[in-house]
Amino acid sequence: MFDRIGGVKMISEMVSTQETYGKTLVELGDENKDIFALEADLMRCSGSKLFEDKYPDRHLQLGIAEQNLVGVAAGLAAMGRIPYVSTFANFLTQRACDQIVMSLAYNKFNVKLVGSFAGITSGNNGGTHISVCDIAITRCIPNMKVMDPGDCNEFRHAIIAASKDEGPTYIRQAKGPMKTIFDNTHKFEIGKGYKFGDGKDITLVSAGITTSLAMDALATLQKENIKARLIHLPTIKPADSDLIIESAKATGAILTIENHSVLGGLGGLVSEIVSKNYPVIIDSIGLKDTWGLNADIEFQLKYFGFTVENIVKKSKELIAKK
């Protein structure tokens, strides 16, 4: 099923992020004997079992010991190998934060971190399992690139692009499945933002799971005769600053929508860029300095305002303040 929003062909199918991760790693592993997959007892959540089945000598199960997990990856990278390290986004970036900073990034080792069950996609596992600050943490680490892909096609492209990019990267993986919004012709590039629509009333900025929602909101705004545009930022760092500044100039108002704390994530990023270059009014939808909930994802989406209705409402409020 296809329809068109803001010039993009949308494909309304749901795809498993686990299957995408596993298949893409196998695809990479087939071509490159230096690819490794590392796990901390959450392989069934990331999907790397497919890789383990095919390449058991390049799949490492390191148990519930995330600091060692990241350190071992650093050692592999020191030998010129390309390790993909997966565990839940919060355990990876919080438990092993110092190892990510010191063992990986300070050494500029070529390690690919994949934070699974990112943000509220962890669903009813409860607040301990919901990463609210993984983007803020990774974003301020020198040498680190940070990605939050919008669907599984883009997730696949991000995994592949990371393998060709020298240096540490952090990629978010939603629990999924994710709604497909890009077809195979989508050209993902690290550092590039993607603009949908040319509206001059307001800019929406999204990443990860919030992009499909923002696309729905864009359609609703169009129906209400509000001329909006959407910037999808699958790469949070390095961010496509030019695109954000251009849209700030064109619309004079920005609403960011992020599956993360509003502190230090997408909202913080856009505020930093805009305030230094072309200040416009900004508001953010996200977790407002709080934890995720012990509730399913649908409940949390509504609770934190990740709804078309809320995006439309906030957009109107921002436009009124211009």
């Binding site: 000598d57 390191l62 600091q67 060692n68 990241v70 071992v72 050692g75 592999l76 050494n107």
Partner: protein, 274 residues
């Protein structure tokens, strides 16, 4: 053998003296933990490891991690002695933006395989190196020197567990067991005993030796090289601050600055080492 041992003892003492002068010229630093290292580093760089200063990035070289990154000055003095760079380069220790920071930095100095400074992280990196070598069936090894103090850290034991799981007999770890850490003796800060038993229980082959005995270091590392199924740890018992009497086994000299009067005494004692 005896002749070789004598030669290495002499080199170790030169390294000790050069380390002292480098730290002193820099205005002070980690005397204690640097002066316990020279024999260990000398044996590694002049006898045990397959390294060549002329083939810095040769893939077949052994890899080395100084996990106790504050031992940087002693490593720099060792590398200079081994011909990686001239001795005069030690004058650049702690000079702003130089290649020789207190804690080693691989992006500044080519001879360094891994930057360190945040303690407790090196052994995990050695595990990754050793897994890579083993997976490619390569004969080279990952050598690592840990401080005893950093063995307070849980990550060291996570790494120990994983080295054992993957039967990484290509890891040779040496603990510079100088029994002091920054705030005092290990036994008061965080007791590690029974230290050797801990390693054994994690599945490691262990040795407990005098870390200033060059001959013993050579022989023990040679024995470790014969091991086929387990990683090896050598608990090298050393004296923190060795060579300067008032620095030996003195908590203050983990890191400090020598006064003019103290410097005179140091110079006399270092002269006796020659």
């Amino acid at each position: 053998m005896e002749q070789r041992v004598e030669k290495l003892k002499k080199i170790a003492n030169e390294i000790r003296i050069n380390t002292f002068h480098a730290i002193t010229k820099a205005g002070g630093g980690h005397y204690g933990g640097c002066l316990s290292l020279p024999e260990i580093l000398t044996v590694l760089y002049f006898d045990s490891m397959n390294v060549d200063p002329k083939k810095l990035k040769d893939n077949s070289r052994d890899r080395f991690i100084l996990s106790k990154g504050h031992g940087g000055p002693a490593l720099y003095a060792t590398l200079a002695a081994r011909g990686y760079f001239p001795l005069s380069a030690l004058d650049e220790l702690d000079v702003p933006l130089s290649k020789f920071p207190k804690h080693i930095d691989r992006l500044k100095l080519d001879a360094i395989d891994v930057s360190s400074g945040a303690l407790g992280q090196g052994l995990s990196i050695a595990v990754g190196m050793a897994i890579s070598l083993k997976q490619q069936k390569k004969p080279n090894r990952a050598y690592i020197v840990l401080g005893d103090g950093e063995c307070n850290s849980g990550q060291v034991w996570e790494a120990a567990m994983s080295a054992s799981k993957y039967h990484l007999s290509n890891i040779i770890a040496i603990v510079d067991n100088n029994t002091y850490q920054l705030d005092g003796p290990i036994e008061t800060v965080m007791p590690l005993e029974p230290f050797e038993k801990k390693w054994k229980s994690f599945g490691w082959k262990t040795f407990d030796i005098d870390g200033h005995d060059v001959k013993s270091l050579i022989n023990t590392i040679n024995k470790a090289k014969e091991e086929k199924s387990r990683p090896t740890v050598i608990i090298a018992n050393t004296i923190k601050g060795k060579g300067i009497s008032f620095m030996e086994n003195a908590t203050y000299w983990h890191s400090g600055t020598v006064s003019k009067e103290e410097l005179n005494q140091c110079l006399i004692e270092l002269e006796e080492l020659k």
